[in-house]
Subunit: 409 residues, 2 copies
């Protein structure tokens, strides 16, 4: 009797449950008799909290609902195992739980920190002659994992951001030349500007697009920002600016911190960035006397399953499927990646990356040659890179006018 356990970790996305569905479907087809879900990732596993996924997903309709349910169905955690030498007890405890339930394979769906966990557990198993194998399936709206062309979750967030910006641009233009208006839209991405760059997708024949994009890859200068906005306002009355939550000045750090010292720190010591659009809005009102409205997309951008990209959801499912296949083959310390096949038409190959050490804890930023620093915008190459990822719509299951999900009992 072969058994697999799967967990979800880190920040949720609109399609992370697509990967879970893929793992489940493929695990059942690839010889696993039992598929468990760990609750709240590794943190729940340490407390022996898990469920039998058959209870929910032996019904096909529930599996379809799962693919349309945002956030992590199994719950998540931001628990970092740390090095074996510092936390041997935790490692022992994990293998104790896995052995107790006769679990053979472990799949973790997550971002950088989760790949770190997969790596550490796989190394520990090898060093201690444990039979379990460990596989990573990528997810992150931030798109900051290296090696893989992009991450499941990113495309849907892009689609949400671009759609929302079209709507914001329409809304912000409503007073035309009778009133100068600036909307400053703050988008997630602590160190990498991929999501903020997605604002460029809003532009087409029927939408003028955003007027400026400020990315964390480029040092932010407040005086320049005011000057550039003033110049834009000379040319048109209503402008929309996309800013990353993580923009920093060369010498004074995060922009949001300049006005807000009341910051929280998350479990990894990352500072929670709030209010960068607020800060810039105040500065513009103060210096230029214009109406400046801050809009923060907050968690809406990572949870908007109702705007999921079909391409993204399908890729999330495929990544999950390959993960379970690799697990059934006994591979360990490996991660599923997506490679873009060169050519006119967008096509993805799902591959295995062997050297997970090269992925964990590295943040992939936007290459500088894809950024138009002079015009505070992105280059066509970056738009071409993102465009295929937002194609196609996912039909939600709707009841009484609202989308239906599946949630833990």
């Amino acid at each position: 009797m072969k058994k697999l356990i799967v967990g979800q970790s880190g920040g949720p996305t609109s399609v992370i449950n697509g990967s879970l569905a893929g793992v489940y479907e493929s695990a059942k087809k690839n010889g696993f008799d039992k598929v468990y879900g760990m609750l709240n990732g590794i943190e729940g596993l340490l407390e022996d909290r898990m469920i039998d996924l058959d209870e929910y997903f032996s019904k096909e309709e529930n599996l379809e609902l799962l693919k349309r349910t945002p956030s992590s169905f199994l719950g998540s955690c931001r628990f970092k195992l740390g090095k074996v030498e510092d936390h041997e007890d935790l490692y022992e405890k994990i293998f104790e739980v896995l052995d107790k339930h006769s679990i053979d394979s472990f799949i973790y769906i997550g971002g950088n920190d989760s790949m770190d966990t997969v790596e550490s557990l796989s190394d520990y198993a090898e060093a201690h002659h444990k039979h379990q194998n460990f596989i990573g399936v990528p997810k992150t709206i931030d798109n900051d994992l290296p090696i893989t062309d992009h991450c499941p979750g990113f495309g849907s967030a892009c689609k949400y951001i671009a759609t929302t910006l079209r709507e914001v641009i329409c809304d912000n233009a409503v007073y035309g030349d009778t009133k100068k208006t600036v909307a400053i839209v703050e988008i997630m991405g602590r160190h990498a500007g991929w999501l903020t760059a997605a604002s460029a997708l809003a532009k087409d024949e029927t939408c003028p697009g955003v007027d400026a994009i400020y990315l964390p890859e480029v040092a932010f200068d407040i005086d320049n920002f005011v000057k550039e906005t003033e110049e834009l306002l000379k040319k048109k009355s209503n402008i929309v600016i996309a800013v990353s939550e993580g923009i920093r000045t060369e010498d004074r750090g995060f922009v949001c911190e300049l006005l807000d010292t009341n910051l929280q720190t998350d479990a990894f010591g990352h500072k929670e960035l709030v209010g960068c659009a607020d800060a810039l809005g105040r500065i513009l009102r103060d210096k230029l006397g214009v109406k400046a409205r801050p809009i923060t997309l907050s968690t809406l951008q990572r949870a908007a399953a109702h705007l999921a990209s079909k391409t993204d959801l399908e890729e999330a499912i495929e990544c999950g499927k390959l993960g379970a296949e690799l697990a059934s083959r006994g591979e360990s310390g490996k991660m599923v990646i997506m490679t873009r096949v060169p050519g006119e038409e967008y096509k993805i190959k799902y591959e295995v990356f062997n050297d997970i050490h090269k992925i964990a804890n590295i943040e992939k930023k936007i290459p500088l040659e894809w950024i138009d620093v002079e015009n505070n915008y992105v280059k066509q190459e970056l738009i071409d890179y993102m465009k295929p990822l937002i194609q196609g719509e996912v039909k939600q299951v709707v009841k009484d006018g609202l989308p239906q999900y599946i949630v833990l009992k």
Copy 2:
């Protein structure tokens, strides 16, 4: 040759262009040879800025696009005419422009302030024996117009709010009992809590719903809020609270102003409310030491055409159609209203309200008997009132993964 002019005023909505489409279609059917659109409402009219709507909408496909385009296609304004005795010059100017173009009928799509304009112009025409007639078509996401059962625009905003809250609730629950989390979602509505109440629609068998709803109709007490949140957190780890931007304490005014004195004032002297969720988040972090994330739905809730309610859009169109019919019949100083037909099934009758004086400048609040003050929630009657308004989905015209609009050349 009969001519009509139509304008849009006040804050935009997802379906205000539906009413414009209805006016256009019905005007052409009801004997108007020309249908003009005034740009930026009465403010543009004063400057003789208008377009011939045939240029855009003689093509059926453009009319369909218009119905799916958020914000006001013609642009809007927040211009209040004021009393005749104070601004006779403005009144004269308006009639000069109308006469110049031989315009017979005037339709204004808007909220309280716009109905005030319709009323004033109609009164002036009567007093000065002008032949033009003036009709009001209601719109406002706030749903604060009296007499009419509800306003076009409200249902789509409700659908956006309820859908988004379902996603926020999933997202906020992701760490489960491993981390206490509070999401505070700030929703529009300066004096009336209708939109905030729509958060109650999120709840069903598959969604636990929001945990508390704070409305501007009930005095807000910060100490009680902290105590009530603390109690909620004893029962469950992850809670979502909906607050109106307009909540006020009994003696100290708007909650947002307690922490933020840097407020702008709009053209009507309304204070722009920003940061009420921010203020409450800080208070909770400070007093309870929990992770409290403020989420402000901002203009997204009034511009989200991609989540428009089919019921709402159809009603917006019908209101516009009746407006043009009334105009063709030579009625003046009247407004289209919707009356709910009593009975099991939801049904709306489109009617004419003669005494527009009773509508302009009156804000309809939530009746206190529909509010569950003790539990910071709303009563079933209010949920039953809102539920029919969010039914049905509007299929957007999508190209390259994004919704298509029609915009002014």
